[in-house]
């Protein structure tokens, strides 16, 4: 059993298997090690991986694990293989993704329009802050995903530029 887990925007593979009736995990490029998660009270847990052990505070909902440990709080994504395949297929074109949920205030460009690097393409509003998103490179707009006044979620595609032609 193998699953991709995202931490701080980096994907890692974690493989689980049985060895001598014990839970073993191979994490990223490490060697397989016995792993035990002991769940305690008030969201406190103890994670043991090989010779290492840490007190953590954790809650899991859906495909996300929220962990406070080592002076920080992390959100780990336990990626579903189907979703992962969809994500892999979607790459290739340059798409501006919404940094957070919000609303489109103004679309500055139209489909088919040529844009220059740094040119404003869309203005969005989130939490009373206006953000002007500019083109990352010269190119042509292939898709405008939301019209003015529409709302969107975090990571929603906003504007897509046509794939860079081979020169």
């Amino acid at each position: 059993m193998q699953r991709r887990i995202d931490l701080l925007n980096e994907p890692y593979m974690v493989t689980a298997f049985d060895q001598h009736k014990e839970q073993y995990l191979q994490v990223a490029d490490g060697t397989p090690q016995p792993a035990v998660l002991t769940i305690g009270k008030d969201n406190h847990s103890i994670i043991q991986l090989g010779d290492y052990k840490a007190d953590i505070q954790m809650v899991v909902k859906g495909e996300k694990a929220y962990i406070r440990a080592f002076g920080r709080t992390f959100t780990l994504g336990i990626v579903n293989p189907v979703e992962q395949a969809a994500q892999d297929a979607g790459s290739g074109a340059d798409t501006a993704l919404a940094p957070m949920p919000g609303m489109v205030v103004k679309v500055h460009v139209a489909v088919g329009e040529k844009v220059l690097k740094g040119q404003p393409v869309i203005t969005i509003e989130s939490m009373k802050i206006l953000t002007v998103i500019t083109a990352p490179r010269n190119g042509e707009v292939s898709q405008v995903h939301f019209e003015q006044g529409k709302t969107f979620d975090r990571n929603a595609p906003l504007i897509t530029l046509k794939e860079k032609e081979k020169e």
Partner: protein
Amino acid sequence: MKNITKVLIPNRGEIACRILRTLNRMDIPGVIVYHPVDADSPAIEMALEKVEVNGTTPVSAYLDVEQIIRACKQTGADAVHPGVGFLAENAGFARRLEQEGIVFIGPLPETIEMMGDKVAARTFCLENNFPLAPSVAESGTNKDFIASAKKIGVPLLIKAAAGGGGKGMHIVQEPGDLEQAVLLAKDEAQRFFGNDLVYAERFLEKSRHIEVQVLADHYGNVIHLGERECSIQRRFQKIIEESPAPALDPKLRRRICAAAVEITRKAGYRNAGTIEFILAPDGEFYFLEMNTRLQVEHPVTEMVTGLDLVELQICIARGETLPLIQEQVQTKGHAIELRLYAEDPENDFLPSTGQLLVYQMPSGDAVRVENGFAKGMTVSTAFDPMLAKLIVHGNDRTKAIELGIKALEDTLVLGVTTNADYLSRILCFPAFAESRIHTGFIPMHAQALKPPQLSIEERNMLLAAAALSSREFIDPAFKVPEPYAFFGDWRN
């Protein structure tokens, strides 16, 4: 004397709870006005009565003057405490209440008009010779304004006349960026404050934000309750406030508090208010703006003075004389407020959303918690992202910092990214402990305030914990009875 027998609060979150706590203690029934998205919030529980309001957006419901007046009539509330934000500095609202014979717990509408509008307040200070940093207000064409702003010289700060909470503010370092910044600021000002008037002010680098809490009754009595320092800001918005201000020596403190009292008196102000100043590195201070309402950070003043500002506001609104004179105001120890925000300091402090899966606030005598949320509630982008405030009070600043670190350690919010760990890093940072702070502290120390690097072992433990917590992941691998294990992942 006016009778106040029932108070309506057209507000939400921690500030609504804060006001209700005092009302409950004073045995004055409180009415909360709420939008359905806030139906599960603690303020609803604390109020004696509740009235639902609606609007095209949740924010617009809390800004709907006529719905709020109807709610007053329906419940028989004879006074309104506006809290902070929303209608707290809206002269039109104060005037409508006056027409309806409902007491507005705040200053007169005319005073809000004069002091709440930042351009009008600056004109007032200029005319009365109060210290003011070089600035220019918009008048005539955009071109004229930009030309006069350029004359002041960069760096400049562009602000909305009707603004607040750091919204619609832009720093301009290069004269060439001025026009773009002005257009963006005007656009934001129009959208958020319904008034696109902006002004440009000389931006003083490495200055401190010092503000003075004032109280004034209807009979010309004005006192101050000392100052607060609020220099730790991101996006022009305060995140850590303290009292007393570590930068002030007794002489400077006397001067700055006296200036605040004079401004308040000259403005004919009544009720609780705050005069904000910038303190330049050379010790000169300049009027910034006046907040004609309770401030988010008022608890630090309450902790060091032992006074209840909401109670004092109600007494003043009833027409009572101030219950104390300046000499009776005593301060004790040092208080620090930490604002807990649903935001991601590792991603430019952008607001974060989600469900509060775990929501544990610190408890005990050493910390005062002003909280407006509960476990299970969803944090959306509909409102300001502040969740709660933690206020600590120690014998001195060092002790207060220590208590703050402990309070943050005891705070656990999971499901929504917060700035709790970031606040803790600031408290532990030597420059903060040594009071070497100014309004550019956060950008200046951005690198040093980044989270500690994860070691490979720590990283792997996190990944292992996430993997082992996922039953979906682990079950087929570990929990499958032998005969079925053969089918592996194909099992249904």
